[in-house]
Symmetry: C3
Subunit: 273 residues, 3 copies
């Protein structure tokens, strides 16, 4: 399953429209290329519908919102829905400002997302309107742990049912759920949190995977999450003594570039609940 998923990305090489933040945009573009897809970034309201139309999927990330790009996100999202294109929402830092909260709400009301991916604080905020992480990071008390795993799985399934979107909650333990099934994924390393934008990169990766696996989006999302986590492990195993977070960033994207279906199958650590 995982094997064919990644192979489809390389074979189809889907074009992904990204409306994303200017902090991590370069890494998002490079990770999309690394997995075999192709990125285009465009955020002016005068062109986003055109760009969405020539692409296969749309990835919306609210990491650096501004008043010009919010209407672009809505326009592109509606066009993607109209064309039945897969869509991803990454609600970066929701909970940290009224503008992010309002924008996330507006996006959820106007656009149907195939996948919503965030850290646990972000997803909890979307679901309940309560709580907030630490800026763009999850609050410590919010983590998915072995202790609260069953209730978090139920939460993810229930929020999926409510929104009609696949819910990806990523952190030390990753959950990828639709209303019925939840992948519980244990790949990855804590040091990935010391790189800016691993979450944004993952959302770009998910958009690439679901674009190439439209009949199988739950598995495709899980495969992207596993690919990222496993590449975090492989990248770390390639670290030299003097390396730090900047080189680690490169090593993870490099590992995505060198990933193949067999390695992904062998390295995957997950169960389905």
């Amino acid at each position: 399953m995982l094997k064919s998923t990644i192979e489809n990305v390389r074979e189809i090489s889907p074009l992904i429209h990204n409306i994303t933040n200017y902090v991590t945009v370069n890494d998002v573009a490079n990770i999309i290329l690394a997995c075999g897809a192709s990125p285009i970034m465009a955020d002016d309201s005068e062109e986003v519908e055109d760009i969405t139309s020539v692409c296969t999927a749309l990835n919306i990330n609210i990491g650096t919102l501004n008043r010009n790009t919010i209407p672009s996100m809505i326009l592109a999202g509606k066009k993607a829905n109209e064309l039945n294109h897969p869509t991803v929402l990454d609600p970066v830092g929701v909970g940290a400002s009224a503008l992010r909260n309002k924008t996330a709400k507006e996006l959820l009301e106007n656009v149907k997302f195939s996948v919503i991916r965030g850290n646990v604080s972000e997803i909890k905020f979307l679901a309940t309107g309560i709580g907030a992480g630490k800026g763009v990071d999850a609050a410590v008390g919010d983590a998915v742990t072995e202790e609260n795993l069953d209730s978090m799985v139920e939460f993810a399934k229930s929020f999926s049912k409510e929104t009609g979107s696949i819910i990806a909650i990523t952190g030390a333990i990753d959950l990828v759920a639709d209303a019925e099934r939840c992948f519980v994924i244990r790949n990855g390393r804590a040091e990935m949190g010391k790189i800016t934008g691993t979450g944004c990169q993952l959302s770009g990766l998910i958009a690439s995977f679901i674009a190439a696996n439209q009949d199988n989006m739950l598995e495709a999302t899980a495969a992207a999450v596993i690919d990222m986590g496993l590449s975090g492990e492989i990248g770390w195993s390639n670290m030299e003594k003097t390396d730090g977070n900047s080189t680690y960033r490169n090593r993870i994207i490099d590992a995505i570039y060198n990933m193949d279906g067999n390695k992904l199958e062998e390295g995957a650590k997950f169960e389905i609940k």
Copy 2:
């Protein structure tokens, strides 16, 4: 010829004004520094004329257009023309949206460019208004090949005659033409296409080279294209087993940093048609 061209960049260290996209801007700045020039990025219409005035050349890239920066491009371009500064246009993704098409047309009508650099789909679109690549990449059927080389050389020369600009069409085979002569360059590697922004970087490099070689812009443009392709080859030869596209990006810019006139002369693969 190539030798003195690159040495002039290091000796003069021209300051280059870039109005460019936010995806690849950091790599553009670093490659300009790597070759010995100095970058400044500024795109607000209130300051672009000031900034162009203190610089030696202007590099305009439409990779992430927005309504605020389009008038800035026109203002800066006109100022650069007035001051007789070398100018580069990189029409990223032209053909993919009406906004890009309209903006490229407006730029060509209002600004005289010393060099227009794009992939073959972008340049064809500028010349004929027909066809489009795949987002920001060239369409497969558009490639310059050994089979269509002579007609593509004629096309490049003819579009140069029409626009008065040096035309740089980059891909597996690169063409750099004025109305009379065309450099056919065979440096580079296909894997460069798996890094975001190698085209944007090359446009910054061309701006640096023509700024320091204003009496010799055709050769300077060809030298920049050769420098990029050869650095792609050298960077690849330095790749280790676990490296991928993210590290390759660094290795190419590093190779530009370590390039000198002799290496450039020795590694260059070109003919003049």
Copy 3:
């Protein structure tokens, strides 16, 4: 002293609000993470006060000004002052355009900055309104040298007295002064100037250090400057034959990631005047 300063950053892990340019923003985010703090970037006027409120310090950088973000800088700066948050101003390229000059003046009039960091041309321009560097680089004739050291130390102290801000003038010799004392720092390497944004990165580092050492901001600023310079030395010592400025960028941030209090104490080269 240096030891506890850096340890406080790792222990407290302050959240830093950055309104900064889109050229070097990714490296700024990664260096803030590397030193143990946490970055958030937000520049829309509708959310900057919210974001500043959930953060511990504010870092304002005018590297790519635009009309939308200038009011955001003022709003965030005033809010940070109201909350008594440490603030940093990085007046990138002041002197190069009327817009940068006007904006820097407006910021100094409306916001009290804990630290102002720039190259010598930028700081001289702020202090005297005269002269200008070369784009975003210092003019050659402006350098702090052994010959003019005493008068530059007096200049820094005097400008600190005038503004009430700690003044950090960085270059071959770095000065970090309040009205009474000036750290003269001789860490660093000239090759750091061949990487875009080492100055911007340093401003993010300073914001992180003063956020975690609010009772001791002069020493904290000096510690951040020493950390950057020493990491430049360590990063250089890790360079391999084919490395250039792009990899050097990674190696410096990696060295910040791997820095600890003892290494910082041992490697520091400074005197107090």
